[in-house]
């Protein structure tokens, strides 16, 4: 017993050490962003890797100035609204849709599935103007409307992911629910959804990241006269002649990724192991 535990501990130790090293290397680029967010801009280009010391250290000045320059908090509000709204809508609608097309198999659902796949393949350049035109003529150029655009544009990936994972849910469990008197919506919400939770969380994370960081789509679709998201706002730190205020940029980047990291960490614990275990024989 001891030897097994010992070897296990050794293995764990090795794992820890190895992954810690890799992690540090992995984080380096992000570290650079953080470090430089405390530097004065002229020094960032010259000495990107040095720690902010002495004359190039400006403390939180970049953060303060950046927040002011781009109207960070307003942009943050819209970003939050759009991201939360769109991701919720996507998760809800596409998981339902994916369930539908993987349980009702016919020509139409299969066709729709492949359309979803296609939508991921299409280069954005091909649809960007037509998308902005369509959204505009339907009056979707506001934060509420853009959630619908995101749903439509993000449906491909989400449906694809959900449909893929739907296969590992044993059918018998859903049948049991039907017998217990569940209507399809109840079966879905009370049984399928909880079992798919890890997938939900994963898809949620991926979509959140996409929407939170997305620049082009909101630029094209949103009514810029009224609304700005963080990525749109951050763009103003780039000057007309290709010069970029890296100090403010880095600071704003740090602020922009913080919420997503927090969100991710919070979601981690829902990615639990083997939810369907013990449910069926076979």
């Amino acid at each position: 017993m001891k030897s097994r535990q010992a070897s296990k501990r050794l293995k764990n130790g090795l794992f820890l050490v190895f992954f810690s090293v890799v992690s540090l290397a992995y984080l380096m680029p992000i570290g650079i962003v953080v470090i430089n967010s405390f530097k004065r801009k002229a020094y960032i280009n010259k000495y990107p890797f040095s720690l902010p010391t002495g004359r190039d250290f400006v403390g939180l000045e970049n953060y303060r100035a950046g927040v002011e320059a781009i109207g960070f908090f307003e942009a943050f509000g819209w970003s939050l609204f759009i991201t939360v709204g769109s991701v919720s809508l996507i998760l809800l609608c596409t998981s339902m849709c994916a369930w539908y097309i993987s349980r009702v198999k016919n020509r139409w659902t299969r066709a729709f599935y492949y359309l979803c796949v296609f939508s991921m393949v299409v280069p954005f350049q091909m649809v960007m103007y037509t998308l902005s035109k369509t959204a505009d003529s339907l009056g979707l150029g506001n934060p509420l409307g853009i959630t619908v655009v995101y749903l439509g544009f993000g449906a491909g990936l989400a449906v694809f992911l959900f449909a893929g994972f739907m296969r590992s849910v044993p059918l018998e469990i859903e049948e049991a629910a039907m017998i217990d008197g569940c209507s399809p919506p109840q079966t879905f919400f009370l049984i399928v959804l909880p079992i798919l939770k890890p997938t939900m969380v994963s898809v949620g994370i991926l979509e959140t990241m996409w929407i939170w960081n997305d620049y082009l789509l909101p630029t094209l679709v949103l009514d810029q006269k009224k609304y700005k998201t963080i990525p749109m706002a951050i763009q103003y730190l780039k000057g007309g002649y290709g010069s970029i205020d890296w100090g403010l940029m880095m600071a704003m980047l740090v602020l922009a990724i913080l919420p997503v990291i927090l969100f991710y960490v919070a979601c981690q614990k829902y990615i639990i192991k083997g939810v369907a275990a013990g449910a069926v024989k076979g």
Binding site: K41, K46, M128, T219, K225, G239, Y241, I244
Partner: protein, 419 residues
Amino acid sequence: GRSESSSDSAAGQGKVYYLNFKPEQKDQWEALAKEYTRQTGVKVNVVTAASGGYESTLKAEIAKSDPPTLFQVNGPVGLSTWKDYCYDLSDSEVYRQLKSEEFALEEDGQVLAVAYAIETYGLIYNKDILRRYCQLEGAVISDASQIQNFETLKAVAEDMQSRREELGIEGAFASSGMDSSSDWRFKTHLANIPLYYEYRDEGITSAAAVKGTYLENFRNIWDLYLNNSTVEPSLISSKTGDDAASEFALGEACFYQNGTWAYEQISGYEVADEDIGMLPIYIGVEGEEDQGLVTGSENYWCVNKKAAPQDIQATLDFLEWVITSDEGRQSLAQEMGFVTPFKTFGEEYTPDNPLVKAAEEYVQEGKTSIGWYFTTMPSDQWKNDLGAAMLEYAQGTGDWDKVKTAFVEGWASEYQARQ
């Protein structure tokens, strides 16, 4: 007139939607718009496209139901894309107030675009370093004013480069950053000079094909930049305009090719404002002693022809207000730092930008300004190809013939592709 539109009923009242090109001036435009609205009740929206995203934003926005009424093009080539959307400004106040018709873009007798900002570029230099150089033993010159042609510039630069330790600098020229976000300094601005001389020889202002008469001179100045710089030529692709700006700002280089707009970036560091000067870019052409700086505009206003009539009117009114009212002039000149081509801007509206002052001095000295002919370059593709060839030449992976090919043959084929 303004009084009419402001007295219109709310329903018939037009509104202005300005799609601004320059992120640097975003705040000033918004403030100005607010002020105008406060005064007249006419709604003015200002949206600023992100850097590098103007064309795509404009393409998307102008197709929407509520399109920009005021947008901008960067010159004749840009205009050709948008000419179908340009309202004829012949009768407008902005056109009438131009100091010279030269500052408007016309086609088929229609005035389609009006420049609103005049900018100047050349070789920005650090007077302090140059002064220190002149005091050195055996300096090639004794005063900055002696640099009047390419030979002198070359001699000075090479001497400075070899004595950079003594001067406490890292190179005569700031790095010629060819990063794709900043290579316009060379592939367009520098290439403008040989182009200018060729046009001058031919007596034209645009061309379907070029000969590349002055390409050797172009090579000389490019070599000079590369060989007497803070970095190895092989590393320039990793350098940006910002790098160069900070090298200059931190006093590490003496010369830095850029324009009046660079003032923001370089002021406030190691170089004092009064030490910032600007020289013409000499490339070794006969009689270049009389050459001045490169002055022109890349910023032209266009009014959207397809907007609602009352919106067009409101936009014209707004523009008039901008160039005639105190608030407008103050903002344009002092806050945005533009030199404008309008008669309404007198002496008092000169920005306090040492580079602008330097530019004015040259004009007053009677030197010939060089125009911004790069706005006639056939396409961005041409510029990109030229830039790529220049870079390859610089880092030693390509030869000068490629630059020639890109310049001469590329011009013809791109010009053709445009049609």
